[in-house]
């Protein structure tokens, strides 16, 4: 399993910490695009998805920001209270379900920690030379992360205790043809935006608390290669692809980072734990194929068509 080490943990607002993550060897991390998230597997056993909110021009570190959620399932409390620089976390992805579509004009709407996926989008819009502006709401100014990183002339900051609810209708105005609205935050905020913006010009990401589908395991599992009849054991130190290669199976791969799709292999039985960037959600759910360079098993046993 790919492990990342926490190289820094910084309080960036009341109740929000930013984690800086790197490979233990300091090497290059998989590329990502604005809107992407990673799955982080914490030592507590939980897997959580976090938007990448760092600088993609820095190939050796990722940044995520985590809001303390007292009513959550414990992932955020673990990050806030237990996780320390030097600790490791497991990595899945990055994957992007919230990509930046090309447009001459962007209107970004952030609610609280929902600002995280928008940060790299704003950086991209700047490089692309697009017209862009951000409406950013939060409970209190002190609870709003990254205010110092946002372009002041393009950002409208609305702390609820000072200025009330976001003035969505007046700030958005008429959303014309060349404009795409990106909104991220709590459900009620997204519903309010959706009521004002034609669906074709709106892209949202809802912060949900759904469990990442596959249980993640550290224990060894067995992989049976149906055509050759070979069965091998895969432990945490090695990828499925590498284990198959060592067992003499014919494999073909390229990137070995779960991005190119070359090593796609048919799964005949067992439940894959998908960690690639290639398969769509419905393809993952089908469970009939996997990318063995990064993906693993959620079940004790996998049978592959090899």
């Amino acid at each position: 399993m790919t492990s990342l080490v926490v190289t820094a943990k910084d309080v960036v607002a009341d109740g929000v910490v930013a984690l800086t993550l790197a490979r233990p060897d300091g090497g290059r991390l998989p590329d990502w695009t604005p809107g992407a998230h990673v799955d982080l597997t914490l030592d507590s056993g939980a897997t959580r998805q976090y938007s990448l909110c760092g600088d993609r021009w820095d190939p050796s570190s990722y940044r995520v920001a985590v809001l303390r959620e007292p009513d959550g399932r414990g992932g955020s409390q673990y990050v806030h209270d237990v996780l320390r620089p030097g600790d490791t976390v497991g990595l899945g992805g990055p994957r992007n379900h919230f990509p930046l579509a090309p447009a001459p004009r962007y209107r970004f709407v952030a609610g609280g920690i929902g600002v995280t996926p928008l940060l790299p989008m704003i950086a991209a819009a700047e490089v692309l030379g697009a017209d862009h502006a951000l409406l950013y709401g939060g409970r209190r100014r002190a609870s709003m992360a990254f205010l110092d990183e946002l372009p002041a002339d393009r950002t409208t900051v609305v702390p609820q205790d000072e200025r009330g609810l976001l003035p969505l209708a007046s700030w958005l105005g008429t959303v014309d043809e060349g404009t795409v609205v990106y909104a991220c935050g709590p459900g009620p905020l997204l519903d309010a935006v959706a009521a004002l913006v034609p669906a074709a010009r709106l892209r949202t990401e809802r912060f949900t608390t759904t469990e990442v589908a596959a249980p993640v395991r550290d224990e060894p599992f067995t992989v049976e290669l149906a055509r050759s009849g070979t069965t091998l054991t895969v432990d945490a130190s090695v990828s499925v692809l590498e284990a198959m290669r060592r067992a003499g199976a014919t494999t073909l791969s390229s990137c070995e980072r779960g991005t190119c799709g070359t090593c796609e292999t048919t799964v005949l039985a067992g439940v894959p734990d998908h960690r690639d960037q290639v398969l769509a959600d419905h393809e993952r759910a089908a469970g009939d194929c996997m990318l063995p360079c990064v993906s693993r098993a959620a079940s004790d046993h996998l049978v592959l068509d090899l």
């Binding site: 290059r28 590329d31 695009t33 604005p34 993609r56 021009w57 190939p59 992007n96 990509p99 930046l100 579509a101 090309p102 447009a103 991209a124 490089v127 692309l128 795409v180 074709a200 010009r201 055509r227 050759s228 290669r245 014919t250 494999t251 073909l252 791969s253 390229s254 990137c255 070995e256 190119c260 799709g261 070359t262 796609e264 290639v278 398969l279 393809e283 194929c289």
Partner: protein, 402 residues
């Protein structure tokens, strides 16, 4: 341009016809000189070792593509055609076109073409072999490597039937134009405008078929994942990068199998070798030999600092023959694991159509394996010089039906 005294220098022109048609000795000298060498003939740097080429292809932050992936620096010279939104773009401009095309050309999306292409290959090989049961002599380039992709790929894109003869010379010129303005470019320039005009006309929504990769790209524009201005240029990428490259990849796999009868026997008798055969040919022949990057900052490589703004040649063909990485690289060997070869490039810009090329090759080779006992050379193959590609102009082959 000045170079530090420790930088190895060569005065050999890698774009001379002699080197282009027989590049392996130059590549070996390039690799042996060091991780990077200064090519005085064109005022540029070149890398030929596997480790450095692969690392540089991956490092888009320091080795940019938007200044052109040929010798010409778009920051100083006007490109001969509007730049590609994929090949000649960096993030974030590159993101949306790449995302759209990756989905359209991904292995799972291609499943809908698989049966059709396999059937077309059977039909194609049947027609070549005829019914006499006797050995048949063909030019492997025109009759197989060119004819089969032209039979399936333009239909899959959904372009018009009329005028497809422009496709191969367009690609040939495009790949020459990545190199210096030598006689190869001059010869192609005469008709390049006509070819480009025809190709551009195929990219419009109204000329494309209702189904196919082209229509899929326009559907992405309708969803807002691309702009209407980007869509035709993304279609153009298919027609630029998706024809000649596959043709010459097939040329190399046919040449490899014809000159290595033992490997053809392995291919036919061991289905597990089929997965690696085309990629081993792409490594061994490296149909795309070179691409360039431009240093975004001063980049230290070994004892050399490649200065900001300098062009760097990434010698893919040399990396694929680097004995520091490959065991007996000159051997075409289906029992080798060619994973990690850089014949499709590497990193962010790695060939987005690689799965299409593999599927075309799998279809054609499976049909041949089914119906042809032996493939053997029927005369001397003829090379063609191209500034970026390593090509066969003609591959006389004798096919012995089963």
């Amino acid at each position: 341009m000045t170079t530090s005294s420790t930088t190895p220098v060569t005065h050999v022109d890698p774009f001379s016809v002699e080197v282009l048609t027989d590049p392996l000795p130059f590549q070996a000298a390039l690799r042996d000189a060091g991780p990077v060498q200064y090519l005085a003939a064109h005022d540029l740097y070149a890398m030929g070792r596997y480790a450095e080429v692969r690392a540089a292809l991956t490092d888009w932050q320091r080795f940019c593509s938007s200044a052109g992936v040929g010798l010409s620096n778009f920051r100083r010279e006007k490109p001969w055609r509007p730049p590609s939104l994929l090949l000649e773009a960096d993030p974030p401009h590159h993101d949306a076109p790449r995302r759209v095309l990756s989905a359209i050309l991904g292995p799972r999306a291609l499943r809908r073409w698989r049966d059709q292409w396999f059937a077309a290959a059977v039909e194609h090989v049947d027609a070549l072999l005829g019914t006499g049961g006797r050995p048949v002599e063909v030019d492997g380039m025109t009759a197989l490597a060119e004819a089969f992709p032209l039979r399936v790929f333009p239909d899959a894109v959904g372009i018009a039937r009329e005028g497809r003869e422009h496709l191969l010379p367009y690609g040939e010129y495009l790949f020459n134009a990545f190199g210096p303005h030598n006689e190869l470019v001059a010869a192609g320039a005469v008709h390049a405008g006509e070819h480009a005009a025809w190709v551009n006309a195929q990219c419009a929504r109204e000329t494309l078929a209702d189904e196919g990769f082209g229509a899929d790209i326009w559907a992405a524009a309708d969803r807002g994942d691309l702009t209407a201005e980007q869509a035709p240029l993304v279609v153009r990428s298919l027609l630029s990068a998706g024809v000649d490259t596959t043709v010459h990849g097939l040329g190399w796999v046919l040449h490899g199998l014809a000159t290595h009868p033992d490997q053809w026997a392995h291919y036919r008798s061991e289905p597990s070798r089929r997965r690696v055969c085309f990629d081993e040919a792409v490594r061994w022949g490296s149909p795309v030999q070179t691409f360039f990057r431009t240093a975004e900052v001063d980049v230290p490589i070994g004892d050399t600092v490649v200065p900001e703004g300098a062009k760097i040649l990434m010698y893919l063909g040399s990396a694929n023959h680097d004995p520091r990485h490959w065991d007996e690289p000159a051997r075409f060997d289906l029992h080798r694991d060619p994973s990690g070869h850089v014949g499709f490039g590497f990193g962010l810009h790695q060939c987005v159509g690689q799965h299409v090329a593999r599927l075309e090759a799998d279809a054609l080779l499976a049909a041949l394996a089914d119906q042809v006992e032996r493939i053997e050379p029927a005369g001397d193959p003829v090379r063609r010089a191209n500034n970026s590609m390593r090509e066969w102009a003609s591959l006389p082959l004798r096919l012995h039906p089963r």
